[in-house]
Symmetry: D2
Amino acid sequence: MTRVAILGASGYTALELVKILLRHPEAEIGLATTRQQEGVPLSAVHPSLAGQIDLAVEHLTPEKIIGHVDCVFSCLPHGVTASLAEPLLDAGLRMIDFSADYRLDDAEEYAHWYGQPPPAPARLPHVVYGLPELFRDRIRPADLVANPGCYPTSAILGLAPLLDAQLVAPDDIIIDSKSGVSGAGRNPKLTTHYPECNESLSAYNIGHHRHTPEIELILSKACDQPVQVIFTPHLVPMDRGILTTTYSRPFDTVREADLFQIFRTFYASHPFVRIVEHLPATKDAAHTNFCDITVRVVKDRILTVSCLDNLVKGAAGAAVQNFNLMFGYAETLGL
Amino acid sequence: MTRVAILGASGYTALELVKILLRHPEAEIGLATTRQQEGVPLSAVHPSLAGQIDLAVEHLTPEKIIGHVDCVFSCLPHGVTASLAEPLLDAGLRMIDFSADYRLDDAEEYAHWYGQPPPAPARLPHVVYGLPELFRDRIRPADLVANPGCYPTSAILGLAPLLDAQLVAPDDIIIDSKSGVSGAGRNPKLTTHYPECNESLSAYNIGHHRHTPEIELILSKACDQPVQVIFTPHLVPMDRGILTTTYSRPFDTVREADLFQIFRTFYASHPFVRIVEHLPATKDAAHTNFCDITVRVVKDRILTVSCLDNLVKGAAGAAVQNFNLMFGYAETLGL
Amino acid sequence: MTRVAILGASGYTALELVKILLRHPEAEIGLATTRQQEGVPLSAVHPSLAGQIDLAVEHLTPEKIIGHVDCVFSCLPHGVTASLAEPLLDAGLRMIDFSADYRLDDAEEYAHWYGQPPPAPARLPHVVYGLPELFRDRIRPADLVANPGCYPTSAILGLAPLLDAQLVAPDDIIIDSKSGVSGAGRNPKLTTHYPECNESLSAYNIGHHRHTPEIELILSKACDQPVQVIFTPHLVPMDRGILTTTYSRPFDTVREADLFQIFRTFYASHPFVRIVEHLPATKDAAHTNFCDITVRVVKDRILTVSCLDNLVKGAAGAAVQNFNLMFGYAETLGL
Amino acid sequence: MTRVAILGASGYTALELVKILLRHPEAEIGLATTRQQEGVPLSAVHPSLAGQIDLAVEHLTPEKIIGHVDCVFSCLPHGVTASLAEPLLDAGLRMIDFSADYRLDDAEEYAHWYGQPPPAPARLPHVVYGLPELFRDRIRPADLVANPGCYPTSAILGLAPLLDAQLVAPDDIIIDSKSGVSGAGRNPKLTTHYPECNESLSAYNIGHHRHTPEIELILSKACDQPVQVIFTPHLVPMDRGILTTTYSRPFDTVREADLFQIFRTFYASHPFVRIVEHLPATKDAAHTNFCDITVRVVKDRILTVSCLDNLVKGAAGAAVQNFNLMFGYAETLGL
């Protein structure tokens, strides 16, 4: 049994995490924090938890955490996380961080995309990117795992087998992603106000979404070549789900059957990637930790379509998958 | 041609009003105001108006309005309206007000439901309630028309024929209403944040929704007897539309066929009420000024179902219908 | 470990059942049948099951079932079920039936509502209605459990404490229910075609929905008095969820606090009913076996609002709850 | 005043057409046909038309049409249209056809994509493609106009200015389109059954959607060069709206400001194309005949985003725009 703390417990990824951990036979939630609402029952912050958990949220102070839990899940926002995390990491706690604060290992790149220097530059080179399908062996012993962004998970899992096999040009890749609204968080804004985004579809942050460098960095590292992508996110009127369509250019003529074989081999030992022959829908993977992927050849391009639940495989499920690896449990436990 | 001003132009009812007035052959929008965003094109406040109207929003000052327009549509919030409206009314402008500030004619009742005295008590006895199906002749000469609430319109139109004919007990009426989310306005809140209200249904303000006294007052006045109702609103995951189901108790046995005849006669001269034999859906009336009504007898009760578009017949369309009556145009012009 | 068969495995309730049983530590799915698609993998019938279960659907024949499984979940349609079920029951199999074929114990009543005599009249008096919150002790030893309808569960759980305490008039009850679209099944029809029911709300089957006699019968039996209700169902644009608002008339003045106490006591030993003080939303109970209930006093009426997931507590979850009771497992196992 | 017939009046595009024509001051609907439902009021086929039009649908026979109307709008399905249309065209009637039967001018190409020879090959070379923004002068005198597909309109309008200016490689174009569900028609199918496609996103027909050759043909003809595209459609959980994102490769470095100038000039005389600087949402153009377009430069690619309402600018609105041109009315009349 491992005792865990959840920092920033008022959002959607934290709620999803609580729900998964409540079913997890080897995890016990010892503490949940939020900036506001101190003393309020967690089940009042999230009414769907009524009768499920008897815990009041608290203000985050290191003393409540250090010595009381073995693992910290941090669902704090970008920029806020590192300052709060550093004392906990220094005290030897193991952490799975949902923010982007530790995802990029290059300080300049971070500064370019986030408009400020990285909050903890000294630690960046040692952080492990928590995508088990690419870095499982490095995750097991890690003290700090940067949980991947939701879009990057869908894009990287779709493209890695192609780039790893050196089948496609690494500088001619288009990623057209579509996400449900929960990916934008629980803070009310005009763009996610129901009558604005319901019955509507829009692209946003074209050319400057912060998941772009994350995708490029991880694919470059994992596949050992400089990868450059064009990434376009779209907002879809649904709660949860990401569907990512990628377009890449093969060096040579390829057959779909061979591509399926490559994908199946690449993910043979990874229980949460399902290579499917039909065109997957986000609903197939909703409320699960699966990422469903298919591949097609159209004219001179390879297309991949990958689907996942942004709150599960794109956030809380992946975090528990990392937790399982870090603490020696079966990778699929509780998922 | 009548020149009009729109106060509080940033919300959904104002947007709907602009769209209707742009198609109206006898109305010209001379001015649009908002509290913020002075100088911003109205088409930037509402991107769907791109290329449709060349007008920048302004701060509301009486000088910009008095002498420049003939009619004021006020989409300002409850409590704010009256203080801004009074100087305009005193200057002889005619106004259609979307707020609740002038809807209740009893100061005590207003104070009970709105938590403060009515902003302009002296004017209340002279205000006309802008439901043409009940008060058409009083609307024509009115200087100030209180545009009805969206729920009250659906409930009153469904019940008035029964109460007017003294068929049902006026103190045993249940109104179960369901509304799309645009009825809650354009101001982002957690309850109308997409991932909160999408794929979900909830009741709210049970027993203390402010449309309760409005329904009771208008039905009592129109049907000349003290009416008392239980009104329960629900929030439905859709943009627009209200469906109201009413349950009332007839004094005697009634036949559905006779009820249909009563409803058809009651609304014979009213072009925007459609008495239908099928069970109407809100979509049938969406984007129109129609209210679709049907009636059923079940055991010892009469049920009515009425559907309308809360932004049109429940707000902006009704306002233009009132405008047409006040300025001598055909009641259906532009609608 | 109990081996089970699922009859009629192509619909939504069957899919939900499979998902629950896959997580259930003491159930093993031995067989799944459909009328069509013989030999097709169950994961092709339901793409969300990809990689989750290795089973092909088969045609239903008694020989494949008798002697091979211990429990049959029948998700077959009304009218079809009984003829297929009778040989299995005669052979001693225990069954949880999702259809209405065994829910009404009065042959005449059945004939009135279903337009034909009941398919197995001799068995009707012995069938147990599978609502554990009312009939737990009778479910444990039962061979045949009629799994409740989704609307009835929400209505009965909301009203039973009031009727049981003889607080309200049993012949003055209004039930206004609202359901997501999955309740209409997986067979494509115009009324459930996406562009017809999306962004729309409608009432249907007013006065003649077949869940009316089921609600009346069960409440009458459970609360030992002749109960008569008006039941109005509405179709809501969402996948899953039922919210039921009931209006009943107390014999005497009541206080909300006392009502909460009555409800809490009534359901004290029932883990899947959550008495909540806030107004629950269907989303709170989505994907769970909970039914959330609250109660209000408004003027001279008692209102209850109950929410549940029509596919879980309204169908497959309740079935597994019954299964647990019948086979001696903890009532909450796997749920 | 021009008298028109609508063939195939039971679908969504026909309904939208009726609504537009009812507001059109110079069109009169003389006849509406469907294969089934002879004698049924059109307002029973489409309940939203209640009280709006007094016309019963009829079986299509040439005698009812020839000599009775001046213009035929055909909303019949692909493959069915031509056999019914030919006698009408031969009799001198002018027609706007919504099907694909006359869109491709190459019989072999047609046969490849539609699996059968074109139904009226002799007429193909003389048909005008009804996209006024490219072919206005040819539409005016035309007797037969092939109304464009919804996806092609969004893609062609986004790409034509770039190809016309010979700025981008005509064989390196990716079109990633997303459409609401009404584009799939009114015939219930499992893929458009509410609980299947709601809260879900999927790609479909990758590499073999029939709008691919239409896009290639029209862009090739209009821009005088062989254009080849990869076209990927996606199904989005909303009623109406198409958003198309295109990726093309400029021959030289380009500046966004110059591209905006090119787009504004290209569409200067076209009232229904709005070049906008913000990223448009489908909702901005919903229920209008506008197509909103923006352009971005990202790394070595030009991206365009175009939004329209598939039932209006993508079907019925475009048809009325063509009608206006053909019969000498102002292009925007009634729209």
